[in-house]
Symmetry: C2
Subunit: 190 residues, 2 copies
Amino acid sequence: MSEALHGRRVAFLVAPEGTEQIELTQPWRAVQEAGGTPELVSVNPGTVQAFDHLDRADTFTVDTVVGAARVEDYDGLVLPGGVANPDILRTVPDAVRFVREFVATGRPVAAICHAPWTLIEADVVRGRRMTSFPSLQTDLRNAGADWTDEQVVVDQGLVTSRKPDDLPAFCAKLVEEIAEGAHAGQARSA
Amino acid sequence: MSEALHGRRVAFLVAPEGTEQIELTQPWRAVQEAGGTPELVSVNPGTVQAFDHLDRADTFTVDTVVGAARVEDYDGLVLPGGVANPDILRTVPDAVRFVREFVATGRPVAAICHAPWTLIEADVVRGRRMTSFPSLQTDLRNAGADWTDEQVVVDQGLVTSRKPDDLPAFCAKLVEEIAEGAHAGQARSA
């Protein structure tokens, strides 16, 4: 266990249902193992329903409702995937505002799999080098991103990966970026 | 039972899993009740797994594999939704090619809910007036569509609707458009 994220709080923002469970639990553990404090942020209080691909898996207790969450209380933001999760999240104005404000402060953001749809909705992908689950590459390119097919891409505080297989590389890079703190280049993209 | 679609074959193109069941079965019945012949086209032979929102529902037998399907054998194409369905379909080159060729011939296409993602991938939405499930409105606008929030939109042979509640209006319009035959304006958009 390292101390890279000692004293750092990291928001995990997910929709009430549809999150790919392993894309929540594995980065969560990586933040804890680096000495940081993960916090589950969602649309409503109560629990969220995670999925194992297209089947219901476990539920998780929400710590903070996104409408009441303040960007300045966190040092990093993780956006897990699951096809239905960002599809719901991007329709919630408080969630989109939170993501946009997060990027605007230059704080590190890590998004995996289908999660970059929420970044498209927040209009923060223009000119960013990034990856995603391959199905949304056209949506990302149309939104102005420089899309590439790599297991993990880091661009000025924005960490992106394609799928669950990429989780070890994704987790290592998100811990590294959050430990570094805010990135001026990230703030300029919002 | 009308005879508006007497002698007409209508392809229903879906992914191996994730189709919103009612968006398959209700238009299917509408085609049959108008005297037409629906045919299930998918990526692989065998069956497809439909969903009721995020839960598994029934399976349906595939009639034709899209890699072997010929556009000239059909008079209309229906694209049901379900968030995971077009997300899979748009990554299958044979499916994207079939949709693009269908539009290029001017033949009517009807897409509901999340299905327009496949139209984005086929690059046939530029300048088209259309609707969809609200979550993908930004992706459609970024791809060049003129997106609007209405229960059904008809633009030169392209019929689109937002969600299961819109099915009665969607079914009525898709039967009408397929009965009319190919539209020159549709062909020009591909």
